[in-house]
Symmetry: C2
Subunit: 487 residues, 2 copies
Amino acid sequence: MTLPVETFFLHPEAQGTLQQQIQQMIARGILSGRFQKGEKLPSTRKLAAHLGVSRITVTIAYTELQANDYLVSKGRSGYYVSENAPSPPTFTATPEGTDAVDWHRAIGQKFSGGRSLSKPQDWARFRYPFIYGQADPTLFDHANWRLCALQALGQRDFNALTTDYFDQDDPQLIEFIARHILPRRGITANPDQILITLGAQNALWLTTQVLLTQRRRAVLEDPCYPALRDILSQSRCHVTPVRVDQDGLPPYAIPPDTDVIFTTPSHQCPTNATMPMERRRALLERAQEIEALIVEDDYEFEMSFLKSPSPALKSLDSDGRVIYVGSFSKSLFPGLRLGYLVGSQPFIREARALRASVLRHPPGHIQRTTAYFLSLGHYDALIRRMGAALQERRKAMEAALADNGLQISGRGYFGGSSFWMRAPREINTSDLARRLQARSVLIEPGHAFFAGSHQPSNYFRLAYSSIPSNRIREGVNLIAEEMAVVA
Amino acid sequence: MTLPVETFFLHPEAQGTLQQQIQQMIARGILSGRFQKGEKLPSTRKLAAHLGVSRITVTIAYTELQANDYLVSKGRSGYYVSENAPSPPTFTATPEGTDAVDWHRAIGQKFSGGRSLSKPQDWARFRYPFIYGQADPTLFDHANWRLCALQALGQRDFNALTTDYFDQDDPQLIEFIARHILPRRGITANPDQILITLGAQNALWLTTQVLLTQRRRAVLEDPCYPALRDILSQSRCHVTPVRVDQDGLPPYAIPPDTDVIFTTPSHQCPTNATMPMERRRALLERAQEIEALIVEDDYEFEMSFLKSPSPALKSLDSDGRVIYVGSFSKSLFPGLRLGYLVGSQPFIREARALRASVLRHPPGHIQRTTAYFLSLGHYDALIRRMGAALQERRKAMEAALADNGLQISGRGYFGGSSFWMRAPREINTSDLARRLQARSVLIEPGHAFFAGSHQPSNYFRLAYSSIPSNRIREGVNLIAEEMAVVA
């Protein structure tokens, strides 16, 4: 490719003659790696016109650079970056502290330092990836996704692709969610009660901003999804972690001054507990009694391959007290970044205004692609295929874990894609995870899920959403081996 | 399509016999519009298995519904929603105030009520759309965008499509911006000094959250991009609007207790003023003197078809004092929702952590598609084509405005895609815009750009990025006509 002439310009503060400035500019481009070996330079005529200098000035500069072996001339075809030109350094981290700015003072609010789960970006290279929440290329319906994306790229959808929706969403996606997704959870909602978000993360964040302030109190399940704890701690509200039991969040333990209760009733994260119907009613009653709102994160409800899922907590709510969070990250893929909020209009109105201010709207193309994928029935087929595969893997997991005597602490009544595991008390699962990485096994240590500083260190999550069945036994054997070394 | 069996289930609180519950469930589905005329119901066998009831119960329910003309039986092929079934109501806004929740109390922070520009969503149906910032289907290189998207949907890019990048971005896009986009603005940056955002809106929002608090002061240009004013007012920092002149923001008018200065030096929004070199230096000196940071919104620099753009303010900054905001909304399309932040690491680190908490990362697929579109040279070709078309339109605008005696208040030295217009003092341009809409002309009234409550009401913006050349004269004539009626 020819280097675009627009990337060339003379620095207004540059010293020396025009010819020298041009030479320096090109040499700097090569040395910094912007112009790479074999790339073609603009013609002398073009560069001269662009810079507003005479053509002969450019020609002399090029000839000089050729003499220095920065450039080679290939006759009429023009000038190229020489193969012998000095190699650029690879990008190195700029040394900090060279700024004149005192960043410690300049930064008004710190956001870094959260306690998120860390997953190696190259997890797919590990032989036994018991990791959670990534798309499995062997299960995802890539071919139909491509077709839907292609359809959404068509002339007819030009508007959906390119338009600035301001605070609105793709009406086709909203309509499909209202008519066909929410009814699966027993929820009836109008389009103006639904807001598309950049994944469940974004939905939880928006909800927190709208409902909580420094003077309000949130109840969090303990253990819970660690990113939610970061969101709440950034909002500076008061947080009460409430320890979950075999049935999920116990309503009686929720303090009376609570404003917002965050819960995962269908599928407690990470213990996989399913809240029984009586407790759901009790939870709604408790919320009513103390005038709290409930945020229901209904992640992974699609993975109910053992038994139909119970309806969402939101379906039992006649008060408008429950705000529902849905996501396509598990059923489609996390890089899609699509989720949704369902709630009463006064709430959705504020969440919508905040979303508009923060990011306007999720990109139109991915909304339309998803609407096609859903409405053509590919989504349902995908869920069935994933369910079948997960069921097989789960069986293999259960057998291998039992044979090795490993203890499952929570397994999910309806299905799901992971087990919550308890190791003997003396095992620190962070160390265990590190040692297992060296043997190409990835597990998720459990401490980040717990609140406070005295977290139990012997829990871990074993997911089976990304590991093929036929590697499960071997992988579990390795885990048992490493655990035996310590114990 | 057959209605997926998953969308059927019995409400746990339902009354009556199982058969009645099934009938009600289906009737409700039809009445609510979830099941539409002609759609096929699951077979009695399937539905029975799904609900855990006997098949005969389902069969009787179906037969009853057939008798009521909700369903029709087509023999062995099964049951369908009858064409004579009652029609669902179209979605109507749920009446507010039926909730048991006191939303006035429950909402901790209000975000609605900002003063944003409103554009009709169906702007493309207007014959003379002098509106700003939407993609022009006659100019955008839709064919190559499709090809790039298709490539990014390929098997090789499965990871870029689906992966959860956590707080990271597509390395290919970052690399291209570092090597080929920023150098056009005279900026050198390492990958760890760049963060991809959901458009410039998101970049400005993240920056505000990191740098400003209730105790800090921001300087805003007056007039300015209205969404920026909303972002700052939501952050509750102190805001000083500084009136711009023909050369943009005057440095001497910036109060000494300012922490952050927001500015659009290349192309003041909305007046189109370009800040001269001496003033840029003076602005940097002023910032240094009072230890303020500068946020440079370099929107629309690509639209410099009259003259090469001057380098960005950031290129003159050796202190690390300038934070640079770029966007692909104008050069590609706004529905893409892609922009970027460039700044020192300590700042980018906090913006990255906040972005991760708010939304994780912009979807991988659109990042990769953009990386291909840029690296294959389509972007440069597009910019050239847009420049040529905008230049032609601008000529037509200038001629038509001059012939009608309309006054251009700011026109942009390097190009751009709009004029900032001043009407005679007695004209209220909001009224003017409303009357012009009735004649299929869209203009943007100017008052939303101004700070405070005593905004001048006689300014408006006339953009030529979405109107074909051959409609410009007619459209401008109509504007002049309507202005004459009032004046």
